[in-house]
Amino acid sequence: MIAALLGADSFTGAVPTNIAFAIVAAMMIFAAIRVVTTRNVVHAALYLVLVLGGVGINFLLLQAEFVAITQFLVYVGAIVVLFLFGIMLTKAPLGVSDDLDNRKQRPIAAIVGLLMLAVLSFALIKTWTDQKVPFRLSAATNTTELSDSIFSTYLIPFEVVSVLLLAALIGAIVLARKD
């Protein structure tokens, strides 16, 4: 499996990118499992940083630089800080706590997760057996193409997203206001 992944491509950058992918993927899976199993709320938020950073590195490996930078700025920079504020304001237990999980639901949740993983991976392996990620040498065209697409084809959704952010901002203020 690993040999197949490492030797799968003919272009020269294949082996380093695959090694980078393997390291990042292992780190992400470990950190994601820790996010849902750790008994310390703050540790869960810090492991979430590892997962989100790993997703950003995956975007880089897929040659989506702009999305990767946005991922680092928005998720690692803003959303994790928001989570830490949420933990602080709800006075969550800062040390180890046994009350974070619903123990009765653990086996059934594990079964649901594993079944879903089995179905998804079966479908993916069957459908996308051999397709490769095309490698582009000129990285600059990617972001240019992306901005052209946002400001022509997807202009109206882009404007609607700004209205959505405004609505969410006002909604959050109204919900969290003290009175």
């Binding site: 799968a8 695959n18 992918f21 993927a25 994601a32 499992i33 996010v35 849902v36 709320v41 869960a44 979430l48 997962v51 989100l52 997703v55 995956n58 490996l61 897929l62 040659q63 989506a64 999305v67 946005t70 991922q71 928005v74 998720y75 959303i79 928001l82 989570f83 949420g86 709800t90 006075k91 969550a92 009350d99 974070l100 639901q105 653990r106 594990a110 649901v112 997760g113 879903m116 993983l117 991976s121 993916l124 996308w128 051999d130 490769k132 990620v133 990617n142 992306l146 697409s149 946002i150 084809t153 997807y154 882009f158 997203v161 959505l164 952010l165 609505a167 959050a172 919900l175 003290k178």
Partner: protein, 98 residues
């Protein structure tokens, strides 16, 4: 690089997120698990985008914006919950139960 390695990584992250949503009872931790799910979907969108055109990356950006709005409103709701009930245990919110 095969596209499948990204898709399978995203599937694993998605399932870990589903497990977290089902098993956690702290509101903030449930929101974190939802973030795992949204990020898995983003990896999928960008990976599929390499096979067709740039639209996959555009949609990934939209998902990031919507996720930011979702976390803001979600944390405000958890905060309101904490103020009214002094607890953010999801299992205690069972008023709809008959």
């Amino acid at each position: 690089m095969l596209i499948n390695q990204f898709l399978l990584l995203a599937a694993i992250l998605f399932c870990i997120g589903v497990y977290g949503v089902l098993v956690r009872r702290n509101g903030v931790l449930v929101l974190m698990s939802i973030e795992l799910i949204l990020n898995a979907v983003n990896i999928n969108l960008v990976a599929f985008g390499t096979q067709h055109d740039i639209s996959g990356q555009v949609f990934a950006l939209f998902v990031i914006a919507v996720a930011a709005a979702e976390v803001g409103v979600g944390l405000a709701m958890v905060l309101l919950l904490y103020r009214t009930r002094r607890s953010i245990n999801i299992d205690e919110l069972d008023e709809l139960k008959g």
